[in-house]
């Protein structure tokens, strides 16, 4: 654990991917269990950062498969063996992983990207378009996200391209249950957990505790509320009072990300110009 990360001055030289990583990392508590899926460079960087700073006991199930690994850096794939190097345990998937995952007590937090996310945090990674059998765009598919949305996890969405195409009034297909129609719709199906936070390249959003509508939590330094609203396909709820600015990384955090965690800049993938 690097001990100087908290006393380090706020960084002035940082990129938005680094801001997203430090913001996400700040949401992990010591002792949480967290896992990543494929193409998850932002969450993987955030886990590694959290473990190096405030949450050394964050339990990481790399690719949902390798327990507490020690990759020497973020590798080119977050679903290949270099990521789960030096694991303490290989978690067998059909039985053991889903025993742990379906049991609401374990793996509290799941970080994921979504091609579309709507006002109530419903996610779509399946199809764009109205005709499921002849879609405009066939997306990769829901993989484990459809499960994670229904089994008591806190979902942390990350989105490198905040736009009216990715944040939409209503998703074309519900690949993962968010708050459905809002209010107590999840409770009525007996579903615990749900979307917690959305971190984009412009802002951080959460969900109103009663209506379950997406709500602006903070805007990134240099981004206006109007810019965020214009880039969103529905009207965002506003927090009470003024909208705060997302806390920037410290110099130590940026240094850890650039020099220790991800010297190959894998985290830039998926970002425009990245």
């Amino acid at each position: 654990m690097t001990t100087d990360w908290q006393s380090s001055p706020v960084a002035t030289d940082y990129a938005v991917d680094e801001l997203m990583i430090t913001t996400l990392a700040g949401l992990f508590k010591n002792g949480d269990q967290a896992c990543n899926g494929m193409a998850s460079f932002i969450p993987v960087s955030a886990f590694m950062l959290a473990r190096l700073t405030h949450a050394p006991d964050l339990v990481w199930l790399a690719s949902a498969a390798g327990l507490d690994p020690r990759p020497d850096r973020v590798p080119a794939s977050t679903l290949e063996a270099p990521l789960w190097r030096d694991s303490v345990m290989y978690i067998e998937q059909y039985g053991d992983f889903w025993n742990l995952a379906l049991n609401g007590r374990w793996i509290q937090k799941f970080c994921v990207g979504a091609a579309q996310l709507d006002r109530y945090g419903n996610a779509n990674n399946s199809v764009i378009g109205d005709d499921y059998d002849r879609p405009q765009v066939r997306l990769p598919g829901t993989a484990g996200l459809a499960d994670m949305g229904s089994i008591g996890k806190q979902l942390y969405f990350w989105n490198p391209n905040h736009s009216p195409r990715s944040l939409v009034e209503k998703v074309d297909f519900i690949s993962a249950a968010g708050y459905l129609d809002g209010g107590d719709a999840r409770e009525r199906l007996g579903l615990e957990g749900g979307p917690e936070v959305v971190i984009t390249n412009l802002a951080v959003m959460d969900f109103h505790p009663v209506s379950k509508q997406m709500r602006l939590q903070s805007v990134h330094p240099g981004v206006t509320v109007a810019t965020v609203q214009k880039a969103t396909g529905f009207e965002l709820l506003m927090p009470e009072g003024s909208v705060p600015e997302t806390a920037p990384p410290t110099e130590a955090q940026v240094r850890l990300i650039r020099e220790v965690i991800d010297p190959d800049n894998m985290r830039k993938r998926g970002f425009r110009g990245g």
Partner: protein, 297 residues
């Protein structure tokens, strides 16, 4: 025990047109690619493919017109992008997708393996996956009064295709210490037939040294073929990593039907053996990873 040694050609002759084929694969990992190429060479048609997370294999089979249905949780080559030939075929209506979440796919295969009509999950409840798939997914009340569950109907593949580190001539299949995805466990357990390629065929005595690493008993396996680099261009740790250059070459070729076909002609239809395929690819030995201490028992 009965001998199961076969050639690639003999093994894939066990697969009939229109059948449901379960394929080991996780994006860029561990697909039995030699068997996939043989499916294309033998011009199989109208296959339904089951994958957990399909990669290049799905794209090739889509491009070659082998599959018209996909049952799975995702299709992606991860860092090398979406599978475009597959995507185009779905968008054109030539491939029908039965999308399932991982726990639902596991439940369907688990029920198939256990001869149960269904297994339940609490995953995927609230999603549109259920309404799209009424034949196989139904909400079911708990007879003990708790929350309802999602009943997932048994899925029994006609054949499962897997690649392993080693096998003996009787079809006992062994893996080096590795992540055990469902595609090397429940998929073959559920299938009516199992076809295995292995990096090497060894004497049974070798398997007896590490009985904890044997994953499939020979009596459920129908054919076993020795195919070094049988998972190329996907990774097969600790033996070799995925072939980045080859993946990029395909991802580029897959943008267009003509270039995709030319690629498949060159690497799939023309080579008449695994050795000719490896020669066409070039030097694969550089993909070999150094077996590190933590991988050896």
């Amino acid at each position: 025990m009965q001998e199961k040694i076969a050639t690639l050609s003999e093994a894939i002759e066990l697969v009939g047109d229109g059948q449901v084929v379960a394929l080991q694969n996780m994006a860029t990992q561990a697909a039995p690619m030699a068997l996939v190429r043989e499916l294309i060479r033998q011009q199989k048609r109208d296959l339904a493919l089951i994958v957990l997370v399909g990669g290049m294999a799905v794209d090739w089979l889509a491009a070659a017109g082998v599959i018209d249905r996909l049952i799975g949780a995702a299709v992606s080559m991860e860092q090398f992008g979406l599978c475009r030939q597959y995507r185009y075929a779905v968008e054109a209506g030539r491939i029908k997708v039965e999308e399932l979440s991982e726990s639902v796919l596991n439940a369907r295969l688990g029920a198939g393996a256990r001869n149960l009509p269904f297994l339940p999950t609490r995953g995927a409840i609230g999603t549109d996956l259920i309404a799209r798939n009424p034949d196989n997914l139904k909400m079911l009340d708990d007879p003990f009064g708790g929350h309802p569950v999602l009943a997932c109907r048994a899925l029994v593949p006609d054949v499962a295709l897997v690649h392993a580190h080693r096998a003996d001539r009787y079809g006992n299949v062994q893996y080096e210490p590795t992540i055990l995805w469902p595609d090397i466990g429940i998929m073959p357990m559920a299938a009516k037939r199992v076809i295995v390629t292995a990096e090497e065929i060894v004497d049974t005595e070798i398997l007896r040294r590490n009985p904890d690493r044997t994953r499939l008993p020979g009596f459920i396996v129908d054919a076993v073929v020795e195919v070094p680099y049988g998972a190329h261009p996907t990774s097969f740790f600790p033996n070799y990593t995925y072939d980045s250059g080859f993946h990029r070459e395909w991802a580029e070729a897959a943008r267009d039907r003509a270039t995709a076909t030319a690629f498949i002609d060159r690497y799939v239809r023309t080579p008449s053996s695994q050795q000719e395929y490896v020669d066409a690819v070039g030097d694969v030995s550089e993909l070999s990873t150094i077996q590190t201490a933590e991988h050896s028992g």
